[in-house]
Symmetry: none
Subunit: 211 residues, 4 copies
DNA sequence: CATGAATGAGTGTTCATTCAT
DNA sequence: AATGAATGAACACTCATTCAT
């Protein structure tokens, strides 16, 4: 009976996580307004009423979903840049590919599109996301580009804009997959896409003369 | 009285434009689902019923917003590509800067983020947008890149992914402005941002040897 | 110019009739509530506003339609029964077939179904229709049946109920054609149907012994 | 409290029936289009939303009204025809009288007039009614007439038209009661009316010679 | 704890009616 | 006289939220 029907206590502790997981999927798929709480509850295997035992409102559920989704995103990255000893081009390549594997190919992949869609309706959340995720992500990119320029591997470019310019195609692919890409239009193979991006961007950054 | 109450005829001709303008503002501000037709009508200074004299449904209104706003710009872009005689690098630069001026710096700037947010909930709209805007926009980029490669100005790169890779930073800036950027975080000067992007991308595409 | 574009005066006089004719068709087809005044106006070749020059409201239009439709219905019948010299069976047959030709196969055919549908909503009209049409129609039937019984051609049956029993199948066919029959279901050839009806009813009324 | 507020479960089971009963009354009184779901709900003592817990749409509610009210009666009729062992004349009499008692004298009496009035506007409902009620009702009549003719109790008549000819007076009386009859005009005593009808029709169908 | 029946405010859409031209 | 643009009340249906069991 323990496994077949876990004890009430265990269920009670697991419930919020099951609900936010179900909610994440649906929020990502349909947006905040488009998600019906009945569907969230159903996907988590409980009734609509039960949801209200754990979350006061649809907004409260949304906030919990985002907060919970952000923490794992933060944990990714950072160690790599500290310890890397090869070329900066290789570092940039590794950083982007790693990010893709850990975020873009994970269950968190939908969070960026979700934040972009709902930032306007949840400014505090957006601000929190910005402070905790975006800023740190940019910091990683900044260090890589600075390293490359300091070592004369990269040309001198405007640092702050280059950070976003170079990360934009990666983010965009993710966003695409969760929005218009769902219609089947213009989906790229991620590896080819990232290869093309790195091919162009690294050559674009390279310090040598172009004859 | 002429000015205070323009003739019926003049109002009738102006109405659709007034309504799509009001709709554009509200769609961008609140999303498709979140926009009430009553508010659109009120902002255009008419009653809810009047809106239905000009547009059959909320979806038809949306399509008109896109049709009226974006299609002419794509047509202008096509004209540019058709008639341009200079270098392909210059053509790419012109295409992107023009796009920015006519969309990114206009009232249409919110449309890409709007579509990304609502695509999941309104597949028909997404499909319409894909057919009307995305496909045609890609076609323009495709022609520019093909031209550059054919004239040996650009290196040979994977065409279909390069189209999106190169356009992604432009789109991303816009999306940013209408989502997390609204919190005041990380806004770039568009001209610097686009300059950095073109600087890197054009060098990345250039055909010469890198020493 | 007289024929191509009749004088204003002529148009003005013809308008109400053109409008009620158009309205009759639509009321019969769609019922009172289901008929849009815009469609009535369009079918009569005028604008919605014009309709209100001639009729104060949708109800007023409906009343005019019925009143106008009733007069021709009244004119039918009556002479036949007075002058007929053959058998009562033949008279009944002739009366019913004639009624069918003059009403059932004419543009007035839809009026009975319309009255039945809307009687509840327009009691005064229903009452008027009853007094002027139904009562007189029953009187004709009553005279025929009384004649047949007086001449011992027909059995003695309950007169008042027989009147309606015998007319019911004729009315019912008409009603059918304008309601469920429109779905293509179970439409009979009127002549076969009436032949079967008269075959059964006249034998059912016949005075002789059944062995 | 048991009686004042019945248990949830009992209410839930009773609700659909309470709602279809309320709907039947209002549909008959005001027609399909003229009936507001809010009024149906109110008459059943619940809110508008509750109605949608049990029926997906106004049309679904209508279909349930028919299904629940009329289908069992047709089934009972089929049982009668299956098991009857007496004369076909007696069977026809029983079928019609039973029909009258269970429909004509019940709360369902208004349904035929309702369908006739609304068929034009709601083809899907008409089609449903045709498939569910008319076709099956005709089948019953067909079997009775075929039985009579096969046993040489009835003359040979055109089967398909006879079905409708013989049922028309019964239907017509009902239609009358819910339309023009409401003005108090020309109401017959149902028993006398049906007796006259059966008297004439059965003699009209009888196989013997008429002398 | 958990349920799910019940609620009712909210929105897209229709259409009879009005009235400035 | 005629038009047709404009109005706004009305209704089917949805869904976040509540609460008796």
């Amino acid at each position: 009976m323990d496994i077949a029907t876990p004890s009430r206590q265990r269920r009670k502790e697991a419930r919020p996580g099951e609900l936010t997981a179900a909610a994440l999927e649906l929020f990502v798929e349909k947006g905040f307004a488009g998600t019906r709480l009945e569907d969230v509850a159903a996907r988590a295997g409980v009734s609509k009423g039960t949801l209200y035992l754990y979350f006061d409102s649809k907004e409260a559920l949304f906030k919990a979903v985002i907060q919970e989704g952000i923490v794992p995103i933060l944990e990714a990255g950072a160690g790599l840049v500290d310890s890397f000893t090869g070329s900066s081009a290789e570092l940039l390549r590794r950083l982007i590919l790693e990010w893709w594997q850990r975020i873009g190919a994970s269950s968190l992949a939908g969070v960026p599109k979700l934040m972009i869609s709902e930032a306007g309706n949840f400014p505090e959340l957006a601000s929190y996301y910005n402070d905790t995720v975006i800023t740190r992500g940019r910091e990683l990119m900044r260090r890589v580009l600075q390293r490359g320029m300091a070592r004369a591997e990269f040309r001198s470019v405007d640092l702050e804009t280059a950070i976003d310019v170079i990360f934009a195609p990666v983010l965009m692919m993710l966003i695409w997959q969760y929005s218009l890409g769902a219609c089947g239009c213009g989906k790229h193979d991620p590896e080819t896409y990232l290869a093309t991006h790195l091919d162009i961007a690294l050559r674009g950054l390279s310090a040598g003369e172009v004859a």
